[in-house]
Each structure stands twice: as structure tokens, then as C-alpha cells.
């Protein structure tokens, strides 16, 4: 059964790696729903957050192919239950409309929105949350002439993760300990992908 999975990739910050990772999906004709790259908790290590909708079997194989890339340190995949995630959205609406026809204050409060810029001609709101929540505000604002809308990729934190600091130390060593190069993909324990 297909479901949403979030793949978290810890990698070197090298030019070209994005293409290498992207082709792993595109050559299998799998659409990337959302992709975010950012620094991670470990210095010098980049973190990719990729959302796709696939079966677990496919995602597991994809994660192995990603981790096979020379510049990738680790790839994890998680279901939505295993992560905390947010997406940021920006909404640009005409200030006149909004000031006359809705109570801005209510809007802000009900949708947890924040006004980022208020100008005579337009106002920009910001919300963060899950897709359904940000979509809802689009609906509410649409009648008042939503000029622009944009939503960021998902960023996610794995609930069970202890972070990458310790693992990175091991990666830095030429002969890392058993824990790091354990046969973890083959391990039957669930811990594997939840760190």
C-alpha cells in the first residue's frame, strides 16, 4: 500500500549530489512531492528531506540506492507517525480587501497566521503547519483576492533520533566501530530506520 514517507538523507554538501539523488527517483518514474536541503545538526553535513508517496518496499530500496551514493552518509525513511514536520506558507493579499471585508485579527488568530509585511497595497501572511492547515487558509483568503501563494518543502525531525553528532565522529574515523557499519539494512530490528 502506498503511503507518504519522509526520507532523511545525511550527506556531504557537494555540488552534483542533488542530481545524483534526484535521478534515483526519476529513473524509476517516482515523483518527488517535496524536497528540502539544509544544514543539519552536524557541522558540514547537509540534510535532505524528501517526501514521496510509495510502498514501504519501494522506499526501502530507494533508501539503499541513496545510501549507496559515495557522498551520502546515511538515509532514513519514516512514516508520518514517526516524525514531527512542518511546512511554511506565505500568502499575499490586497490590504484594502482584507481590511474592509474580514477581521484580520480573527483570521490571524484562527489560522495561527502572522503578518510579515503590511503595506498599503498588500499584506503578507505566514503560517506554518501541515499541508491541510495551510491549504485551509488559502481557501479562506481566495474570495478576497489571493495575489500570491507559496508553500515550502517539508522539514521534518525524526522523533526517535539522537541526532547525527555521534555517528559523524565514527564516520570520520578510517576504521569505525561495529555499530556504525553494522549490517543494519539487513537487520530485522525496527530501530534501523528510526535511528
Amino acid at each position: 500500500m502506498k503511503q507518504e514517507f519522509t526520507i532523511t538523507v545525511y550527506a556531504e554538501n557537494h555540488i552534483g549530489l542533488l542530481v545524483r539523488i534526484a535521478t534515483i527517483f526519476s529513473r524509476r518514474k517516482i515523483n518527488i512531492e517535496s524536497l528540502n536541503t539544509s544544514p543539519s545538526e552536524a557541522e558540514g553535513i547537509h540534510r535532505f528531506t524528501i517526501v514521496i508517496e510509495e510502498t514501504e518496499e519501494v522506499v526501502r530500496k530507494l533508501a539503499r540506492q541513496i545510501e549507496k551514493q559515495v557522498e551520502v552518509l546515511k538515509a532514513y525513511y519514516n512514516t508520518n507517525e514517526e516524525i514531527i514536520w512542518q511546512e511554511l506558507a506565505l500568502y499575499k493579499v490586497p490590504t484594502d480587501e482584507i481590511a474592509e471585508k474580514v477581521k484580520v485579527e480573527r483570521l490571524l488568530r484562527e489560522h495561527g497566521a502572522r503578518a510579515v509585511v503590511i503595506r498599503k497595497d498588500y499584506t503578507i501572511f505566514e503560517t506554518s503547519g501541515h499541508r491541510e492547515e495551510t491549504d485551509k487558509l488559502v481557501e479562506v483568503l481566495a474570495p478576497y483576492g489571493l495575489i500570491e501563494f507559496v508553500r515550502s518543502a517539508r522539514v521534518a525531525i525524526i522523533k526517535n533520533s539522537k541526532g547525527f553528532h555521534e555517528k559523524l565522529k565514527e564516520f570520520d574515523e578510517a576504521e569505525p566501530g561495529e555499530e556504525l557499519i553494522e549490517n543494519e539494512f539487513l537487520d530485522k530490528q525496527d530501530e534501523v530506520f528510526t535511528m
Binding site: 552534483g16 542530481v19 529513473r27 545510501e67 559515495v70 557522498e71 539487513l186
Partner: protein, 580 residues
């Protein structure tokens, strides 16, 4: 500066512990430090500084000028496969680099260690559609294990060291380094060359987990009908001895994938033949009868497995591989053993009981008899007037005694040769397996000869494949190399024709291929040759070819519409293998 092979005169001050080198010189110093002795390549505008530097390294690095970059990279592949070392190829930017793509893809899928070095336009011209500029890094990303663009000469020693390390370690593969012209020219303080043995984000092999070995051993010890299938991993892992020791103690009949061929001598009593679409009858049928299937260094390609949902369903599967992404990729393993088979096989050997399975092995031999009756005998000793490919290979075996390196192209002749050629020694079968690249054999044979100069190299090629890279006869001419070229000419693109006959109602669509007079073409290149159509003259002609001092081209006319059997038709299970 002991790693430096350039003469000291080229430096201004020999007392300093760094000297000034150009990026190009650093590339060549790096190659020498990595033990490279032969480079296949073709010059051009953007790689001219490297070629200029090469002029001074002529005594340390042999450069083989090929006739086409594709020929260059296939030659590097042949070199790597026959020598077990990293093959090196140089090409210029743009078309030079794009001509490497087929070879990179071939090396990627067949895990061949290569370092390809391409010239690139000046860094300030990148992205401007400059003359002979292509985005080589992005074009080659899916077909390289790693690639990198160098724009500053100071990066060269470290990048080259990383390239060689990545190409040969773990599961080997092709690496491409693209060097902009300015970096090739740029002088910098060269601090010597340090070999790379660690890249923090890269794990070539794991520490083997003993519990998986123990689990695998338990399955093997409890098996009544164990069956071993092996691939090129055994050869790449240099574990032929470990493998042989294992199967001999375990008493397990063993079959090979096309790339695993020659890892185990042909006449070993436990060698039961070839797997897959045109493999032997026994190994295919017994795959669906064994109780424990042990796969080592192979990746369950669709040409090996046939229909997956009917593949070895009854068996417990043990999969030993160095690449964890191969385990469970196509066939779910009961026990996956991730590791280098050079380490895992001896660990497994220790834990298994010494056994023999005479009745089980006998079943394979019974299948052999059946196959012999239906297919092999007629192929090797035909009653037809026309020659068969099989009898040519049989005659070749009798003359080489299985000691030659045999390089094959792609198609019917490849299947027949791999089925019938005898091998005593590992790294003797060189063929394009995964990618199925027609035109591979001639340049690969050239490379194979450079990689193993003291061995006889015979390239067996169809009349289609030879015409794809026939220009490499020029390379043979110029280098005075001694390779034997045997064209099995059936006047058709035989494998496609076979499929059209069997599955498309004999609608022979564009498989009727005309040939030039190959003997005359060879003559034009100063290569001796002859054409054979009669059985009486075949053996003598083969003898002449093998004994000739230098390269020789032998064209053998074989039956036009012969088919390769057995055959597992596409979409069928391996146990539905057809004998006719």
C-alpha cells in the same frame, strides 16, 4: 619527493619539499603513483595540456591511441577485466566525453573499475555553450560510481587519489574526472601524492556480522539439495580460491552467471554450467527444485531469473554480496550476508560440514544428458553442411586447451561462446553482460591483451558487432598488437532474428545485415586473415590464426538461421526452459 617521476631538471629548486607542477603533470604523476602503466585515449582541444605533459612521460606511461573514444573506454574495460586493475581512459571535452558514455554505462552495470579523465573548457567558459562544451558531469552522473569536475589544479592529487580508491574498492565501478583546461595548465606547489584509503561518507565493505554467517551455515548444513550460483563478485573479490574451497567442502553443485564464467574451471566436477536465458538446462530447472539457493557476488538479473514470481519459490535463499542495495532488490533473501566474499566465504567454510550430494549432483548430470541429446551434440558435431558456431568454439577449445582469454561481443555468438568455451583460469572471460553493448569485443580484446600481454586473446565477434567498432583495427595496426579476431558470420543480426522467428512469426525486420570483405578490410590495416566456409578447413584455419605471429582475422561463415538453445523465453519461469 620520491613519488615524483619527472626528472628533477624540470624544477627550479630541488631543495624545497614542494615543487611547481602543472595540473596536467599532477594528473600523470598521480596515474604513475597508482601503478597505471597503460592509458587508452584520444586527444583533442580541451585535453591538450595533458597530452602535452604526456609527451615527457612516454617512458613511464604507455598511451594507446584508439580510433574512437568508445573504443578507448572499452579497451580500458578489457584491460581492467583481464588484469584486475583499474583501467584508465583519456578523452577530450564535448564529443570526446559523450563518446565515453556507452562504456561508462557498461562498466557501471558490470562493476568494472575505471578512471576516465576528460578535458573540459576553461572554467570561465563553463555554461556558455563554448566550443566542444558539454555538461559531462550531469550527462555521466547516472553511469558513474562517482564523478567530479576539477577547476583548480591544487585539487588534482586528492581528487585523483579518491577516484582510484572509489573505482577499485567495494563494488568497483567507473569514476569520471572532468578537468577544465585552466586547471590543466595552472602551476601549483605539488606536495606529492598520497593514496586515498578513506572517504568518510563511503563504506566499501562492512565488518562481517558473524550471526548472519552462522544462520547461513545452519541453512546449508540442513540442506538436502543445496545449489550455489555465482557471479563476477567472486572474480572482483579475488576470491576464486576461497570459493572453490567452499564448494568443495560443502559438495554443492555450482552454476555461473555470464560474468561469473571462468571463476571456476570449466571441468571442475561441481561446475554444472551456466544460468539464465541461454544457460544450461540443469541449472535452470534445478533452481526451482533446490531447497537452499546460495547466491554469491551476483545480482539476480532478469536474464538470470526469468519470471521472478516463479523463481526458486521453494528455496531458502542465502545472498552474499558486497553491495547491500543488491540484497533483497530482486529476490528476497532468507539470509542476506553483506560483505566481501573474500572474507565471508572462508567464514562460512569454517562453519559448514564436509558433505557430498551424489544423487543431487546426478540430477544435474541427467539434465546434461538430456541437453546433450537435444542441443549440444548437434551444435558441437553438426550433421548439417553449414558450420555451426558451437563447432567453431569446440575446435578452438581443442587448440587453446582452455588457456586463452576469450572476449565476446553481444548476441548469439556470445551465448554460444560462453556456453561452450573452456576456461582453466579466472579473468579469462570478458564480455559485455549487463548492458549488452554490441561493438564491445574488438576494443575490449585490445585492452585485454595490454592487461595480460603473455596470454592469448581471442575476440569472438558477430558480423553485426564487428561493424560497430571495426575502426579499432587501426589501433591494432598501429600498436602491432597480437589479438586474434574471429568473426562468426551468419549474415544476420542473429539474436534479434531468432526472436523474430520465434515470437514475431518470422517477420525479419531489418536483421539482414550485409558485410564487407572482412579479410580485405583487415588487409587494408595490414592484418593477416582468411575466410572459412568449409568444415575441412576450419581447424587448420584456427590453428593458423593462433600460431600466426601477430594479429589475425578469421571470418567463419556459419549457418544463417541457427538458433541458440536452450532458451528461457521472456516472461517465463526458469523451469520452463525450452530445449527447442
Amino acid at each position: 619527493m620520491e613519488t615524483l617521476s619527472l626528472k628533477k631538471e624540470t624544477t627550479d629548486d630541488t631543495t624545497k619539499d614542494t615543487i611547481s607542477l602543472s595540473g596536467s603533470q599532477a594528473v600523470l604523476e598521480g596515474c604513475i603513483a597508482e601503478g597505471v602503466d597503460t592509458i587508452f585515449g584520444y586527444p583533442g582541444g580541451a585535453i591538450m595540456p595533458i597530452y602535452d605533459a604526456l609527451y615527457d612521460y612516454n617512458d613511464k606511461l604507455k598511451h594507446i591511441l584508439v580510433r574512437h573514444e568508445q573504443g578507448g573506454i572499452h579497451a580500458a574495460q578489457g584491460y581492467a577485466r583481464s588484469s584486475g586493475r583499474v583501467g584508465v581512459v583519456f578523452a577530450t571535452s564535448g564529443p570526446g566525453a559523450t563518446n565515453l558514455v556507452t562504456g561508462l554505462a557498461d562498466a557501471m552495470i558490470d562493476s568494472t573499475p575505471l578512471v576516465a579523465i576528460t578535458g573540459q573548457v576553461f572554467a570561465h567558459l563553463l555554461g556558455t555553450d563554448a566550443f566542444q562544451e558539454t555538461d559531462v558531469i550531469n550527462i555521466t552522473t547516472p553511469v558513474t560510481k562517482w564523478n567530479y569536475q576539477v577547476t583548480d589544479a591544487t585539487e588534482i592529487p586528492a581528487v585523483l587519489a579518491k577516484a582510484f580508491y572509489l573505482a577499485r574498492s567495494g563494488r568497483p565501478g567507473p569514476v569520471l574526472i572532468d578537468i577544465t583546461k585552466n586547471a590543466q595548465i595552472q602551476k601549483f606547489d605539488y606536495k606529492g601524492y598520497t593514496k586515498c584509503n578513506h572517504v568518510r561518507s563511503y563504506r566499501p565493505k562492512p565488518i562481517v556480522r558473524k550471526e548472519y554467517i552462522a544462520e547461513a551455515a545452519k541453512l546449508i548444513n540442513a540442506a538436502e539439495k543445496p545449489f550455489m550460483i555465482f557471479g563476477q563478485g567472486v572474480i572482483l573479490g579475488k576470491a576464486e580460491k576461497e570459493f572453490k574451497t567452499f564448494i568443495e567442502k560443502a559438495g554443492i553443485p555450482s552454476a555461473w552467471t555470464i560474468l561469473g564464467l571462468s571463476a571456476l574451471p570449466t571441468d571442475h566436477p561441481l561446475n554444472v554450467g551456466m544460468l539464465g536465458m541461454h544457460g544450461n538446462y540443469g541449472p535452470n530447472v534445478m533452481t526451482n527444485e533446490c531447497d537452499v539457493l546460495i547466491a554469491v557476488g551476483m545480482r539476480f538479473d532478469d536474464r538470470v531469473t526469468g519470471r521472478l514470481d516463479k523463481y526458486a519459490r521453494q528455496a531458502k535463499i542465502i545472498h552474499l554480496d558486497i553491495d547491500p542495495s543488491e540484497i533483497d532488490k530482486n529476490v528476497k533473501a532468507t539470509v542476506g550476508v553483506w560483505g566481501d566474499c573474500k572474507e565471508t566465504l572462508p567464514l562460512l567454510t569454517k562453519l559448514i560440514e564436509t558433505k557430498v550430494y551424489p544423487q543431487w549432483v546426478e540430477k544435474f548430470r541427467a539434465c546434461d544428458q538430456e541437453e546433450n541429446k537435444e542441443v549440444i551434440f548437434e551444435e558441437l558435431h553438426p550433421s548439417t553442411e553449414q558450420l555451426t558456431m558451437g563447432e567453431v568454439i569446440r575446435n578452438l577449445n581443442e587448440l587453446t586447451n582452455g588457456d586463452a582469454i576469450i572476449v565476446t561481443d553481444v548476441g548469439q555468438h556470445q551465448m554460444v561462446t560462453c556456453r561452450y568455451a573452456k576456461f582453466n583460469e579466472s579473468k579469462s572471460n570478458i564480455t559485455s553482460g549487463g548492458l549488452g553493448t554490441m561493438g564491445f569485443a574488438l576494443p575490449a580484446a585490445i585492452g585485454a591483451k595490454f592487461g595480460a600481454p603473455h596470454r592469448t586473446v581471442v575476440a569472438v565477434i558477430g558480423d553485426g558487432g564487428i561493424q560497430m567498432t571495426i575502426q579499432e583495427l587501426g589501433t591494432i595496426m598501429q600498436t602491432g598488437l597480437n589479438v586474434k579476431i574471429m568473426i562468426l558470420n551468419n549474415q544476420f543480426l542473429g539474436m534479434v532474428r531468432q526472436w523474430q522467428q520465434l515470437f514475431n512469426d518470422k517477420r525479419y525486420s531489418f536483421v539482414d545485415i550485409a558485410s564487407p570483405d572482412y579479410v580485405m578490410v583487415a588487409k587494408g590495416y595490414g592484418i593477416e586473415g582468411q575466410k572459412v566456409t568449409l568444415r575441412e578447413t576450419l581447424k587448420n584455419a584456427l590453428q593458423t590464426m593462433l600460431q600466426h605471429d601477430g594479429s589475425y582475422l578469421l571470418e567463419v561463415m556459419v549457418g544463417k538461421e541457427n538458433n541458440v538453445f536452450p532458451m528461457v523465453p521472456q516472461g517465463c519461469s526458469v523451469s520452463e526452459v525450452r530445449l527447442k
